[in-house]
Subunit: 151 residues, 2 copies
Amino acid sequence: MLNVDTIKNGLVIDHIRAGYGPRIFRWLGLDTASFSVALIMNVASKQQGKKDIIKIDNIINIDYSVLGFIDPNITVNIIKDEKIVRKINMSLPDRVEDVIKCKNPRCITTTERYVPQIFRLVDKAQALYRCQYCDALYKVGDNMELMEHSL
Amino acid sequence: MLNVDTIKNGLVIDHIRAGYGPRIFRWLGLDTASFSVALIMNVASKQQGKKDIIKIDNIINIDYSVLGFIDPNITVNIIKDEKIVRKINMSLPDRVEDVIKCKNPRCITTTERYVPQIFRLVDKAQALYRCQYCDALYKVGDNMELMEHSL
């Protein structure tokens, strides 16, 4: 129903967990883009029931490790001359920096604003990350609040 | 390029000033919708150069006076069985309540949180509104900050 036609040169971020599209859209700074972009939410999907899709009519730089952290099921299709020339599968990155904030009030990153927020993957199956400084555990997907910045 | 196919039963909010789509999308609460929705930005438009479009695969209630306040050039198409059954043109409403905040620090609405924010249209051609309490002038479109609430 809400399919979007193919784009000429750009990216299609597909298989986004339903409901996660808007925050990825914002996180990529697409809400202030000057080129054509589309955010499509709650599209019927065979694999997932429902999914979100983002279409970008421009080649932009994306930090794939962060996309994989937000949702490892995401695939990114790179489109050239209306054809998919590359399909990139995401995975949980070993390390993320300044993507999420440690919620431990006694962690050094809470009091020292200029210490980067670094988390390391400790359990891939359970998608568990640990703060590098205080060892606080963080499970991906639990009401994820991403730090605000644009790419 | 980024056209979205027709929807079965729902609304198409068309001719949105380019760049205003995301805030209308959020303001309508569509970023947490459970039905299919699409936000398409910077589509080529004969009239406007570029425009944003929102497609909603569901019949939802919209306060048209507020949409008209955000952008009087917007048209809303109501779709039934894949056909446009009604086309609604927006216009600047005579009065808006709790849509924008008065920025005058000495206005009663700034100190008394429970006084509603009421603005009245005083100059249609210039799209000027006046705060009902302190007479502060407000021009529609100038970095409009909408109050947060869902419909």
